[in-house]
């Protein structure tokens, strides 16, 4: 299994949509074969179409707001006393997280295909919030599927979705979290694919959704590359890119432009959700050696029992609380291009406390997982090492949890 240079990773899958011959694919009901093929044809055409690219860039620039900031965390760097710690503040983007890129592109595609309705899944509520924003902007009706447990713990984003006119459908099956929301959304699409477009909220699902999402979030690393060269004159000799990994859209987008660099120069570190310290449950299939299985149309490492039943996950962060992981990351893991590890709920909370104590930055619980590992590892690194953490979400949505776990003063 090998990565190819000079070809975007999203285009390195084989004819059937498998990366490395075994991750991804299209394990879908027959009914979805046609709409998926239609979407593939449309996307393959448009991603080469200059007019479409400039339309995308126009919305990215004027509506999403590019570039998001790239800042040095001076105080945190001093406190840690090792590598220089920087952050790419992706939460600057309109709506407050990276999910806006994928949502915008899906709405642009839906418009081109003549669909009037778009449906999507959400965990932390960002994917749903952004889809509701983009749908409103482009005049599409919007339907969001969200686990009942997540609706309860991510209220600010639920309110935003409703305000944007989206219908939020609570999902009560299974663990009532993201995995169930994605299943329910796919079911809805099976029954309505003639009139409705579907947006999968991360680099997961049937291969085409992995590709569209990765293509969209790659905006993050395009900006970062430019910003790094601006700041340091060239890409630093020792660069470490830390990102939390749920489905893997933010991390993939954060790394994509650096894929062809040697990992000794530019290392990728993905941080999964290890769940509560005391619990056996987690959302870290790559870190804890889960086996390959099929989830939501794609072959991937996924938490499951020996019978092939998908296992329940547990994490303080709704956005990372998913038993599977993008086929792109499975491929990056097995080719050893990226390294994966996990942070626990408690680790993430401590990192949140540290970051907010030293900096004017309030990463949500998802990127707090990445900060946790970055801070620990940066301690042992030289001063000329550049650590960059993607702060891909804002903690506003986590108010309720932070108040409960850390007390009022942290909200």
């Amino acid at each position: 299994m090998k990565l190819k240079k000079g070809i975007p990773l999203i285009d390195q899958g084989n004819k059937l949509g498998f990366w490395g011959g075994k991750f991804g694919g299209n394990f879908v009901p027959e009914t979805l074969k046609k709409p998926i093929e239609d979407l593939e044809i449309l996307f393959n055409k448009l991603k080469k179409d200059k007019k479409f690219i400039s339309e995308r860039d126009k919305y990215f620039k004027n509506w999403i707001g590019t570039p998001t900031r790239f800042i040095k965390l001076e105080n945190l760097t001093k406190y840690v006393g090792g590598a220089q710690i920087w952050s790419k503040v992706v939460s600057d983007a309109n709506g407050g997280a990276h999910k806006i890129y994928n949502a915008t592109v899906h709405c642009l595609l839906a418009k081109r295909s003549g669909k009037k309705i778009i449906c999507g899944d959400t965990g932390a509520g960002y994917a749903g919030k952004m889809l509701s924003m983009a749908a409103k902007k482009f005049g599409l009706k919007c339907k969001i599927f969200m686990g009942a447990k997540d609706i309860e713990r991510q209220q600010p984003n639920v309110r935003a979705m409703k305000k944007n006119g989206a219908e939020v459908v609570p999902v009560y099956s299974g663990s009532q979290t993201l995995v169930d929301a994605v299943s329910e959304c796919m079911r809805f699409w099976v029954a309505n694919c003639d009139t409705t477009a579907m947006c999968v909220g991360s680099t997961v699902g049937p291969a085409i959704f992995v590709r569209i999402c990765g293509w969209s979030t790659s905006q993050i690393s395009r900006e970062l590359k430019f910003q790094l060269i601006n700041e340091f004159g060239s890409i630093p000799k020792k660069l470490k890119l830390y990102n939390c990994v749920g489905g893997g859209s933010s991390s993939f987008g954060f790394w994509n432009e650096f894929m062809d660099y040697d990992k000794k120069q530019c290392e990728f570190i993905g941080v999964e959700a290890g769940g509560p310290k005391k619990s056996k449950k987690h959302a870290a299939p790559l870190t804890y050696g889960s086996k390959i299985g099929i989830l939501h149309g794609a072959a991937q490492y996924v938490n499951q029992n020996s019978d092939g039943q998908i296992e329940e996950t547990e994490s303080i962060s709704a956005g990372l609380d998913y038993p599977g992981i993008s086929p792109l990351h499975c491929f990056l893991k097995d080719t050893k291009r990226a390294r994966y590890t996990a942070a626990s709920d408690e680790d993430a909370l401590s990192a949140y406390k540290l970051v907010t104590k030293y900096e004017k930055l309030r990463p949500s619980l998802e990127p707090s997982h990445a900060f946790s590992v970055a801070i620990k590892e940066a301690k042992k690194m030289s001063k000329n090492t550049i650590v960059v953490v993607n702060s891909c979400g804002d903690a506003y949505k986590d108010k309720k949890i932070l108040k409960k776990r850390l007390g009022k003063k942290y909200v």
């Binding site: 394990f27 879908v28 009901p29 027959e30 079911r187 499951q304």
Partner: protein, 266 residues
């Protein structure tokens, strides 16, 4: 290859009616009960589909989901599913059995081992909801070697060209999904329209049996009786759920329902 599924269709044709196929979930609501249900419906149904419960069923509506979650909660494992089939096949009046499920269950078990086990316990066919053509091509051949039919699903969204290719590679039985829906949806297309689509499929290769499923209930079954076979699933699962809620015996209630369904197509 010989497969008793062919005989079941032949017999129904001789009686000038479609074959009746039932779908129940293995282990719903217990391992033993689901076996008793299979035995009870055998008197009326021609082919029995047995669902392998999965906890992330992306193509099933709420009724079959409820049955599957109930079975999993009761601790049903894949080995129990095989046990049920094995026991059922000891029944002298047993009918052909088709296992229906999601690919991950087979993937984890191992394709080869799974087929060997199927053969051993007497499974006659497989429907794998999320393992479409052409992905299933090599598995189709492996099934054939064991004289097990891999039943291809065909949908109203399947293009004509694709239909031809799928049917060419298919075994003697295929499954037409009546409409864009998960299982258990309300029949939102007219029976006339369904039969029109159906006849287009039949024309491609009239020798292959095609059953229709999704959304078929006591009300609608008669209107589709020109098909080779008709599948009723969610309506039966719902009957089990209702029986449990009303503290009635699901076995008698399901048998009565299947008897009624059969009477409608005689």
């Amino acid at each position: 290859m010989f497969n008793p599924i062919d005989l079941a269709f032949k017999k129904a044709k001789e009686e000038n009616r479609p074959a009746l196929l039932t779908y129940t979930v293995a282990g719903d609501n217990t391992k033993k009960k689901s076996l008793v249900i299979l035995n009870a419906v055998s008197k009326y149904a021609d082919i029995l589909e047995l669902g392998v419960p999965h906890n992330t069923p992306v193509a099933d509506g709420s009724q079959i989901q409820t049955s599957a979650y109930r079975a999993i909660k009761n601790g049903i494992k894949i080995e129990d599913v095989f046990w049920i089939v094995k026991r059922y096949k000891k029944n002298k009046n047993s009918k052909p059995i088709i296992l229906m499920g999601y690919y991950n269950m087979i993937f984890q078990y191992g394709q080869k081992k799974f087929l060997e086990k199927c053969k051993k316990v007497g499974v006659n066919g497989l429907i794998i909801v999320d393992f479409p053509w052409p992905e299933n091509k090599s598995f189709t051949k492996k099934c054939k070697r064991k004289s097990i039919y891999l039943i291809q699903l065909l949908s109203p969204t399947t293009s004509k060209e694709r239909l031809k290719k799928i049917i060419k590679d298919s075994h003697p039985m295929n499954y037409f999904i009546s409409m864009l829906s998960t299982t258990g949806g309300k029949l939102k297309v007219s029976p006339k329209k369904i039969m029109l689509n159906y006849s287009k499929i039949k024309k491609i290769n009239p020798k292959k049996n095609v059953v229709i499923g999704f959304g078929i209930t006591e009300k609608s079954i008669k209107s589709l009786n020109k098909a080779d076979g008709l599948v009723v699933g969610s309506a039966i699962c719902k009957e089990i759920t209702n029986s449990i809620q009303k503290r009635q015996n699901p076995v008698t209630n399901v048998a009565n329902l299947v008897k009624k369904l059969k009477n409608k197509i005689l």
